[in-house]
Structure formats: structure tokens, C-alpha cells
């Protein structure tokens, strides 16, 4: 949220000049006033001799309790930072996935002697920063306040109290975040990719879910904190305006008495790439774009001789530079996407290769073809000398820029220790980069680029996209996964012969009261309640045949939103600001809402298609595609057992031209005046998180005055 605002307030319109037009230049001399001969300017300046890069020095020492300390002196500005970083491998969190990160977050929200408000006040008073995470504690501020800063840092490190109130708050935040994740196709793709790449037995393959979050207890958090925040499991990195003597004294004074502990450092089997290509699909009904990740695990450890040639190779394929081949091919040449990239990192446990893009539905399979083509080209053809040089310049340039920050030097030092790298690993970086040849890059590509052993993870509209992806799969079967990486079995149920979509709709009408009963319903008033962040909102919806409708949303006795449709025109208002609506998609939506039971007329107003049987929340359901006269489609799911409508998925045009997909689940059908109504609705996609609406009362054929629908 914060970054949204920073963006808003950036008065300047920061503009990346990423527009490229490689065309013949049509020269037209601007009518300048100058008489001076400027022809010499056509010569492109040649670079001077490159200056050798000096990497700053660092020093290190150990405390008796096992804490390793790294010091980088830099007195350019009178600040100093203390970064404590844990060394252990990630742990398996199991049914309580998410507790480790919550433990880190909570450390700063209370100690035995201070509340969160007191910690905030003390940190702000000295103009400092203090952050905690599952991987450590970071503190920075002016040198002259470092004593106070270290008091605060070590207070949260030694005396974190994990207050219940802050724990509840953190849990709620995490749940809100997950609710958003569920509808975000990139987040879904990320979850599925992690699960298939690493498997459930590897910590990188664990995904935090709503259920696992509910399972987290304060005790889980405390246990992690007590077990892993130990000096023999940590580095302290001190950077800034400080001498070695001062650093030693501060390390001793503040961290010398920190007690050692037994720390398990779990190890794991290294996940392998699949033996043949696998297509993995995450369904998002109604999606207009597909997120594609071509990905697999890679065994590439920090410090390996392959790291640098791999970086060059990836830079050519789809790295940071705009000129990467994936970008050139999928964006510049084919216009399938706004951006296509690849990445490959190094990691002590297991790393990964991922090539990704978001593309339009209809070019999803073509895009996968291009990804595979570019990966194969990387393996089969040597790159040009020019491509090599561009990649090297770009890497060297960003390496040089990074050296401006003393934190970079500290990271070099930390990595040198942590991964037992040769002492000159970073100081020889540019030399080694320069020595890389076209042959090295190709050899690296042969080893690390594996288009035939990749997972092709696609999140998008199953109906529109999935079948076309079958040819990419090694055994020609696609596996389906849910938003949090859970495997979904696609039902193989065979549909009864001769069953039509119309039959399904008619069975539904009969099951919830029958055609005759529903035709006799002339008015209906439903009151539903929903809970939003601890507050209750009441929705009152009134409908009157043939075509009137009113909706009032109230909160704490006040009307916060109102909509009316009088059969011809509509009105929408919020807090007393009313807009009359006489045309457009909003009016159409109101019109359809005014129909008490549209299913009665489906056979004459819609085109229906029975698509198969799917599993919805553990129930087998018929899937019916409904297309209206304007060509707009929605999907409805009817329980095979009792014929009830249990899910409807439709898309809605948002005001900004974006399309949002809204999924409504209907459960808890109960009888009201002879008809069955769902007493619980769960709606996803309208708000950042799913909302549940419970039916409080319903009245059929009561008297509703036309005035309730009046538009003015």
C-alpha cells in the first residue's frame, strides 16, 4: 500500500524510455541558429581506459559464544548499521506453514518491558530503522545514537514477548493477504511452481494456506524464536562509520552474553527436474490472460564456477536487459505480451530456472512454443560475439554501480564466509566475466537449459486454453492444481447419455420449488448480513415482478450504498450522492438483477451448453456454460446429487476497462415459503478478499410499494 502512495506522490512522471524503434533514420535538419561547424559531432566518443575496480575491505572475528562478526568500515556518512542474519537452512513447517515468518514479524511488536507503541516511539526518536524477520534483525541509524539503537535491537532479540493482541493482528493480516493471493494469477502460478518444482518434502515446496495460517499458535512462533535465534547460528554484519576497535567493543558488550543453543540444521534431498516435460494447469475461470512459467529445479551452488557463465547466458536469453531474446521475440516481434523474462539463480539447497510471461488466451500455446524455441536455440546455437559483449557490459555495469553501497561489500564478505568462497572471489569477478567465451556460454546452456525437462505451469482459463497445451506434455496428460498448489483430480465421470443442459436447469427449478411455484412469486425481499473487518453490513434486496429491483447496503444503521431500478432506468448512490443511470453495462446488470428468477426463461433467453462434470468444494457438479444474447458468458455448476445451483462464475467489466471474474458459491439451501433459498453466499473477486453473506430473513409475495423502486 505504501508504494502506491509513493507512486502517487511522485510529482515527476518517471519514464523508462523503453520504446525502441529500429528504423531507417529520416534526417531532417532542425532549423537551428548556429553557424558553427558541428560536423565533428557525428563521431561517437570512444571510452577511456576502464578503471580497475577496487572492492572495499572487510574484517571479521568470532565471539566466544559462536557469533561471527563481519565489519565494513565506511566513513562517508556518519551512519552505522547492524545486521544479524541467521544461518540455518529453512525448516519444514508442515500443517502450520507460515509460522516462521510470523515469528520474525512479531519480534518487534513487544518485549518483556516495552509495548509496540513504546518500541516505535524509541526507534523514531533517534530517527532510526529497526526491522525483524524470520531470517534476522536489522538496525540502522546515526552513529551518535548507536548505543540506544543497540539497546533496542538486543531487547527485541533477547526479550521478545509475543503479545496475544499483536499475534491476532498479524494472523488477520496474513489471512487478508492470502485472500488476495487466491485471485491473483501470478501468486497462484508462484504457489503451483514451488510445489511442483520442489515437492512437499522440501521447505521451498511449502505453501502457506488459509488453513495452515489458522493452525498457527503463539507457541509455534515462540519455539522458532527460542530455537533459532542463537549466536552460534548467526552472523552479525556491521557496516558504516565505525572503527574496528569500536565494532569489537560493541559486539562484545551487546552480543557477548547472548547464550548459545543447540540448533538443528536440517538437510534435504535435492529435488530433480522431471524426466519429461510436464504441463501443469491452474484454472482461473473467466481469465483473459494466461500466466506462463517454464520452470524446473537447478543444482547450482553459490561459488560454483558455472555461476558467472550462467548469468551471462541468462542475460542473453531473457535477463535484465531489454535486448534479451525472450523480450525481443515475444514482445517486440510477436506482440504476445508486455514483458517476457527468464531467471536462474544460485542457492545452497536448490535453485531454479524460470522463464515467464503473461499472454493473451489465444496465444498461450504459441507463446509456450516460442519459449521452448528460444531455450533450444540457446542450447543448439552459439551466441554472437556482439550478444556476448552486450551481456558482459551490462553485468559489469550493474556490478560497478552496486559497489557504491557499502552493504554490497558486506554481502560479499558474508557470502565468502558462508559458502567458503575463495578470498578473491569477488575481487576477480570482472576478470572472470571478461574471460567468458561464446563456447563457455553454449556449454553452460547445454548443462542448465532443459526445455524437455521442464514444468510448463500455466494459470488461466481452463476451457479456453488447457486442451491446446496437451501436445507439450510428455505423456499427453495435464495435471491440475489449485491456488495454493493442491493437486486437483479431474473427474472422469461419464455424463449420462442424452442429458442436456436444459434438463439440468429444469431439474434445478424443480428441486428448489418447481416452475409453478416460482411463476407465482411476484415479490421477494431478502435481508443478508456480511462481516467486513469486524463490522456488520446489511444488504436488503427487494424485487418485484415484472422488472423492478432495489438494493440497500446499511452499516451501523446508516445507508452506505443504494441502487434502484424502476423497470426503465436505474440509480446508484453512495452517501447521498446519487447518479441516474439510463444506459450502459451497469443498467444492463440492473435489468438482469430485476428478474426474480431468470432460470425460468433460460431456454428462450440464453444459449446453454453442458460442459461436463467437475468437482466443486468436494461435490460432483454439472458444468453449464450460459451465453446471453449479447454473447456474454458465465459458468454455472449444479450439484449432481440434489440438482441445486452451487457455483456461478461470471465476469464483469470494471469501470477502468479491466475485467474482473466473480465467483459466487451458494450453500445451505433451506425452505422459505415453499421455495429453497441458499442461506449462505460466498463471493470472491468483488473485494480484495472473499465475502460471506448469510440470509437473515426472506419474504415471498409480501407487499412492496412501488415507491421503493422509484428513481429520482
Amino acid at each position: 500500500m505504501k508504494n502506491i502512495f509513493i507512486l502517487l506522490l511522485t510529482l515527476g512522471m518517471l519514464t523508462q524510455c523503453s520504446k525502441k524503434n529500429v528504423e531507417v533514420i529520416q534526417d531532417k535538419a532542425p532549423e537551428m541558429m548556429d553557424q558553427v561547424d558541428q560536423s565533428w559531432r557525428s563521431a561517437i566518443p570512444t571510452p577511456g581506459p576502464a578503471r580497475s575496480i577496487q572492492i572495499g575491505d572487510y574484517q571479521s572475528f568470532d565471539l566466544d559464544n559462536g557469533l561471527k562478526v563481519i565489519v565494513v568500515e565506511n566513513d562517508k556518512i556518519p551512519r552505522v548499521s547492524y545486521s544479524l542474519r541467521l544461518l540455518n537452512n529453512p525448516i519444514i513447517e508442515g500443517d502450520q506453514a507460515g509460522y516462521v515468518s510470523m515469528a520474525g514479524q512479531l519480534m518487534r511488536t513487544g518485549t518483556e518491558s516495552k509495548s509496540k507503541a513504546e518500541i516505535d516511539a524509541a526507534v523514531d526518536f533517534i530517527g532510526a530503522n529497526l526491522t525483524t524477520s524470520s531470517g534476522g534483525v536489522f538496525a540502522s541509524g546515526l552513529k551518535k545514537h548507536q548505543g540506544k539503537l543497540l539497546d533496542l535491537m538486543t531487547d527485541v532479540l533477547y526479550n521478545a514477548s509475543f503479545p496475544q493482541e499483536e499475534f491476532d493482528k498479524a494472523k488477520n493480516q496474513a489471512l487478508s493477504g492470502l485472500a488476495t493471493t487466491k485471485t491473483d494469477p501470478n501468486a497462484i502460478a508462484g504457489n503451483i511452481a514451488s510445489v511442483v518444482r520442489y515437492g512437499k518434502d522440501h521447505p521451498y515446496g511449502e505453501v502457506q494456506t488459509e488453513k495452515s495460517t489458522q493452525n498457527i499458535t503463539i507457541e509455534n512462533c515462540k519455539e522458532y524464536y527460542n530455537n533459532f535465534f542463537r549466536p552460534n547460528n548467526a552472523y552479525l554484519v556491521i557496516v558504516g562509520d565505525i572503527t574496528m576497535a569500536e565494532a569489537k567493543k560493541n559486539a562484545m558488550d551487546y552480543f557477548g552474553k547472548w547464550e548459545k543453543g543447540m540448533v538443528d540444521n536440517p538437510t534435504y534431498a535435492t529435488p530433480e527436474a522431471p524426466s519429461e516435460r510436464k504441463v501443469i494447469f491452474g484454472n482461473k475461470d473467466g481469465a483473459v490472460q494466461s500466466v506462463i512459467n517454464v520452470t524446473y529445479p537447478v543444482n547450482l551452488k553459490p561459488g560454483s564456477a558455472d555461476v558467472l557463465p550462467v548469468r551471462v547466458m541468462n542475460s542473453v536469453l531473457g535477463g535484465g536487459v531489454f535486448l534479451g531474446r525472450l523480450m525481443q521475440n515475444l514482445r517486440e516481434d510477436k506482440a504476445y505480451t508486455y514483458g517476457a523474462r527468464s531467471s536462474i539463480g544460485s542457492d545452497d539447497l536448490v535453485a531454479s530456472f524460470t522463464a515467464s510471461a503473461s499472454v493473451r488466451n489465444e496465444v498461450t500455446d504459441s507463446s509456450v512454443t516460442e519459449f521452448i524455441y528460444e531455450m533450444e536455440r540457446m542450447v543448439n546455437e552459439p551466441i554472437s560475439q556482439e550478444d556476448l559483449q552486450l551481456a558482459k557490459n551490462s553485468i559489469a555495469g550493474s556490478f560497478a554501480r552496486s559497489l557504491e553501497s557499502p552493504q554490497t561489500i558486506a554481502n560479499f564478505a558474508l557470502n565468502t564466509y558462508r559458502y567458503n568462497l575463495p578470498e578473491n572471489y569477488f575481487s576477480s569477478y570482472l576478470e572472470r566475466l571478461d574471460a567468458i567465451t561464446v563456447e563457455d556460454v553454449q556449454a553452460t546452456a547445454k548443462k542448465y537449459i532443459r526445455p524437455d525437462n521442464a514444468y510448463v505451469v500455466v494459470v488461466g482459463s481452463k476451457d479456453d486454453v488447457s486442451e491446446k497445451l496437451i501436445p507439450f506434455d510428455g505423456d499427453k496428460t495435464i495435471d491440475f492444481y489449485g491456488a495454493f498448489g493442491e493437486r486437483i483430480e479431474i473427474s472422469n465421470d461419464v455424463m449420462p447419455d442424452n442429458l442436456t443442459a436444459e434438463d439440468v436447469i429444469n431439474d434445478y427449478i424443480e428441486a428448489i420449488g418447481g416452475r409453478a411455484t416460482w411463476e407465482g412469486v411476484k415479490t421477494m425481499k431478502q435481508v443478508r448480513e456480511m462481516s467486513l473487518m469486524g463490522q456488520t453490513a446489511t444488504l436488503t434486496m427487494s424485487q418485484k415482478a415484472p422488472n423492478m429491483f432495489a438494493l440497500v447496503v446499511g452499516m451501523q444503521g446508516m445507508t452506505v450504498q443504494e441502487q434502484r431500478f424502476d423497470g426503465v432506468k436505474g440509480m446508484a448512490g453512495q452517501m447521498g450522492n446519487n447518479q441516474v443511470i439510463t444506459e450502459g453495462p451497469q443498467l444492463d446488470a440492473m435489468k438482469s438483477q430485476a428478474d426474480i428468477f431468470p432460470h425460468l426463461n433460460y431456454s428462450s433467453t440464453k444459449t446453454l451448453e453442458l460442459k461436463g462434470i467437475e468437482d466443486i468444494n468436494g461435490k460432483k457438479a454439472y458444468k453449464v456454460m450460459v451465453t446471453d444474447a449479447a454473447g456474454k458468458t458465465s459458468t454455472e455448476y449444479y450439484d449432481i446429487q440434489n440438482s441445486y445451483l452451487i457455483r456461478s462464475v461470471g465476469s464483469q467489466d470494471g469501470p477502468g476497462g479491466q475485467t474482473v471474474t466473480i465467483t459466487t458459491d451458494m450453500t445451505d439451501y433451506k425452505e422459505v415459503s415453499g421455495v429453497m433459498l441458499p442461506h449462505s453466499l460466498t463471493i470472491e473477486g468483488m473485494m480484495p478478499q472473499a465475502v460471506n453473506m448469510k440470509l437473515k430473513s426472506a419474504e415471498i409475495n409480501g407487499n412492496i410499494d412501488d415507491a421503493e423502486f422509484k428513481v429520482e
Binding site: 500500500m1 502512495f5 502517487l8 511522485t10 510529482l11 512522471m13 524510455c17 520504446k19 525502441k20 528504423e23 533514420i25 534526417d27 535538419a29 532542425p30 537551428m32 548556429d34 558541428q38 559531432r41 561517437i44 566518443p45 571510452p47 577511456g48 576502464a50 575496480i53 556518512i77 556518519p78 509496540k116 516505535d120 526507534v123 523514531d124 526518536f125 533517534i126 530517527g127 546515526l142 552486450l390 557490459n393 559489469a396 555495469g397 554501480r401 557504491e404 553501497s405 467486513l532 473487518m533 463490522q535 429491483f549 438494493l551 450504498q561 441502487q563 446508484a572 452517501m575 450522492n577 447518479q579 453495462p585 446488470a589 440492473m590 438483477q593 477502468g656 479491466q658 473485494m687 480484495p688
Partner: protein, 440 residues
């Protein structure tokens, strides 16, 4: 020809500042054509920042031709007599550097960060832009589309993206701050090639620019190169338009509701305030810190932590060359109505008018200011931009070392005084941002 105006400002210039801030040393001079040059040498990392700041922003535009200043920021990447279309970024990427540009209401800024042995490349690219950039219909057509796409991305499709625009248009009736930097797409469409050429010839002239170079340079060699590339660029011949419009007081509260493509309601409370650099501006800046810097700040603590009414809240003065506004902005938590949020923010703002803050809280503000100041000069790119800003707006680049004193001269009584003077109902624009009515 180099005429040296001020020579080497030494460390003693920083006297008075309470942090032992290491002074930023720099050298500045004018070329005969009026181009101002600022050099900062720091050889610790082999990179160099080459930048040019032009004293033209959206406020210099004709009210019928808004968006020109920002449009030029795009157009001037199209190429020059010696640089092919779209090749600016090719040259820089191939040299291992990065480049960018940005535009505000008051100025336009272009820069490259390059390996230091490519200093000359950067100077060549920038001098080409100043001397004879390609300003023709082909480039204009291309960039119109890009700017429209940018508008969709940053304003129209960005939740809350219209806040500045909607606020400024109500807060100013006469001054050019009333229109957005990105301007009107109709104006850009309607303008013809000669309009663009005139704008270029008027504002993109050496006497309206500052070249600021910072990083791994040898100053003597840098001066020779700057002279080579910039000294033969002629002065302009058209007078430079600088608005002298003084906006009268708002004269009464303006209140409005905006329906936007958002999920959560938001409130904007914008108060008119004096220009940057004035005494009251510094006091108002500290007032905004009191309200919103850090988790212990008044608004964050009350609205986010304790009452949980807001997902985000803050107060931000816009540093502008002419009198501008300070904006309080809050996004409501789910289920909180916008009036409740406004009342909560108002209550905290009222307290700053009636209760003098404690010495401890005041000291916190001073400590934060000091930390902000000390921290911001950690990169040569930031130093080059600050030096250019201070020269362009205040004619005193050395404010990079001394501006802190202006903040430290503010008393807590000053802060209460400016709260009373500016946080008044008839001096503000209040906007409620509400989700477009959800469709049934």
C-alpha cells in the same frame, strides 16, 4: 571558455549543522552561453552520473497546450542529428549504464549513470539533446501513443491515480499548477509540429539548464570535455516564459466526491501553503513529519495501530517553486466509512493547533530530520540531482550542506503557529474517493 564563478567550497561551509555531516564538496561555474555547470568528484566507485536539468515544467506551459513539458521528456529520446531514432538507450545499455528522465511541475531532468570511462559518451548524448534533438512529426506521432499508454497505466488504471490531478484542479483556479504534469491528451493531439519546435527552441537552451556531473571524474578533464560538447551550443532567442500569476486565497472550503475504480474509500484533505524554501515551508514540513513519519507518528499511531480505521495514512507537503499544497491522505480499512476516517484524521490535525508538543516529541522530529539529511547523500546520483535542484530553485547549490540549519531553526511554537495558519477549513480542498457503485 570557462569562467569560474565560485571555487571549491570547503568543509567549513557545513559549520553549524549538529551532525558531523561530511560536507559535499563541489565546484560550479557558467559557460559563456549561460549554461551552469556543477561538478562533484568522488572517486570511490568507478561510475559517473551525467545529468542535465532544464528549468521547464508544466507550469511554463500555455493553458491551451498542457502536457508539453512532459511530452518533451519522451520526445527527446527520439534522437538527434547524430543519434538515430531510439538509439539513446542502445548507446547507454551497450556501455553498461542506465538512463532515465522525469518531469515535474517546475523542471525536467535527464540523466545517465555510466562506467566512469564513458563520461564523454554521456556528455555527447546530452549535448546532442540540447543542441539539435530530432523534433519532427514522426517522433511526435510515436510518442503521443506512448504518453497515452503511460497515462492509462499511471493515472487512469492506477487505483487512486487521479488524486493529485483532482486535488490540484480544485486548489488552483489561476495558477498553472491547476493542470496535471501529464497534461491533456487533446492538447497534445491538436498541437502541430511548429508548436513543438517552438517549445524546444524556447526552453531547451543552455541558459535555462544546469549540467550536473558527479562521481569518478578528474575535474580538469571533465571541464575540458564539457567545454568541448556544450560551449558551442548557442543561447536561445525567444524570451523564456515564467508565470508570475499569484493565486488568490482559496476563500472557502471545496468539497467533492470522486468515484474511482478502487476497492476501499479514501479521503484527501489538501491545504494551500507557501512555496518551498520559505520559513513556513520548513515548519510545515516538520508538521507533516509529526503527523506521519514513522510508526510512532500521530496519524499512523492513532489511525492505523490504535483505531484501525486506516490501512494507510499520511500528510505530505509538495515541495514546489511557487506556493503549493500540503496533502493529508488516508485509505480506509475495510468496512470503515470515509467520514469516520476524515473525522479521525481531522481530530489529530486539530490537536496540533491547540496542544504544544512535548520537548521529547520535538526532539524526535529534529533527530529524524538530521537522519534524513545525513542519509540522502549516499549515492552520487542523488548528490548530482540535489546540487542541480538547489542551484535551480535557490541559486545556492551549497544548500546541500546548509539547508539542514533552516529546519533546525524551526521551533515547536512555529509548528503550532503554521498548523493554525494553514490547517483551516476555508483553506482546504476535501475529496472523498469512493468505489464506483458496485454492479449488482
Amino acid at each position: 571558455m570557462i569562467r569560474i564563478c565560485k571555487i571549491l567550497l570547503l568543509a567549513l561551509m557545513a559549520g553549524g549543522a549538529s551532525a558531523q555531516m561530511n560536507a559535499i564538496e563541489f565546484e560550479e561555474y557558467d559557460l559563456d552561453n549561460g549554461l551552469h555547470v556543477i561538478l562533484h568528484q568522488d572517486n570511490s566507485t568507478p561510475i559517473v552520473m551525467v545529468s542535465v536539468m532544464y528549468h521547464v515544467g508544466s507550469k511554463n506551459e500555455n493553458p491551451d497546450k498542457t502536457g508539453f513539458a512532459h511530452f518533451f521528456e519522451h520526445l527527446l529520446f527520439e534522437g538527434s542529428e547524430n543519434i538515430g531514432r531510439g538509439e539513446y538507450s542502445d548507446y547507454v545499455e551497450k556501455a553498461g549504464g542506465t538512463l532515465n528522465a522525469n518531469t515535474s511541475n517546475d523542471r525536467t531532468y535527464y540523466f545517465e549513470i555510466l562506467p566512469s570511462n564513458q563520461l564523454e559518451l554521456g556528455l555527447w548524448l546530452e549535448s546532442e539533446r540540447m543542441l539539435h534533438a530530432k523534433v519532427d512529426n514522426k517522433g511526435i506521432e510515436t510518442q503521443r501513443e506512448v504518453v497515452k499508454e503511460e497515462r492509462r497505466l499511471r493515472v487512469d488504471n492506477q487505483p487512486y491515480g487521479t488524486i493529485l490531478q483532482e486535488t490540484m484542479v480544485r486548489a488552483f483556479r489561476q495558477h498553472p499548477y491547476q493542470w496535471p504534469v501529464i497534461g491533456s491528451m487533446e492538447h497534445l493531439d491538436a498541437a502541430v509540429e511548429s508548436d513543438y519546435v517552438n517549445f524546444y527552441k524556447t526552453f531547451y537552451v543552455p541558459e535555462n539548464a544546469v549540467v550536473s556531473v558527479a562521481g569518478d571524474i578528474n575535474k580538469e578533464q571533465a571541464k575540458i570535455l564539457i567545454d568541448k560538447y556544450f560551449s558551442s551550443i548557442p543561447r536561445g532567442t525567444t524570451p523564456i516564459y515564467r508565470p508570475t500569476i499569484v493565486e488568490p486565497p482559496l476563500g472557502g472550503e471545496i468539497r467533492d466526491t470522486i468515484y474511482d475504480n478502487i476497492q476501499l474509500p479514501a479521503v484527501v484533505m489538501a491545504y494551500r501553503m507557501p512555496a518551498q524554501g520559505t520559513e513556513d515551508f520548513y515548519a510545515l514540513s516538520m508538521l507533516s513529519q509529526l503527523l506521519s513519519q514513522g510508526q510512532s507518528s500521530r496519524l499512523y499511531k492513532a489511525m492505523v495501530d490504535e483505531q484501525r480505521k486506516a490501512l494507510f495514512v499520511g500528510n505530505f507537503p509538495l515541495p514546489l517553486e511557487d506556493p503549493g499544497i500540503t496533502i493529508a491522505f488516508g485509505i480506509a480499512n475495510m468496512g470503515i466509512d470515509v467520514k469516520g476516517l476524515e473525522d479521525g484524521i481531522s481530530m489529530e490535525m486539530e490537536k496540533t493547533k491547540t496542544e504544544l508538543m512535548s520537548d521529547e516529541e520535538f526532539q524526535k522530529l529534529r533527530n529524524q530530520i538530521e537522519n534524513n539529511f545525513v542519509s540522502r547523500n549516499s549515492r552520487v546520483a542523488g548528490i548530482a540531482e540535489s546540487l542541480a535542484n538547489y542551484h535551480m530553485y535557490f541559486g545556492d547549490a551549497n544548500l546541500i550542506n546548509t539547508e539542514l540549519d533552516r529546519y533546525l531553526a524551526v521551533t515547536k511554537e512555529d509548528i503550532m503557529r503554521v498548523a493554525n495558519k494553514y490547517f483551516s477549513v476555508d483553506n482546504r480542498v476535501v475529496l472523498h474517493y469512493l468505489p464506483k457503485p458496485a454492479q449488482p
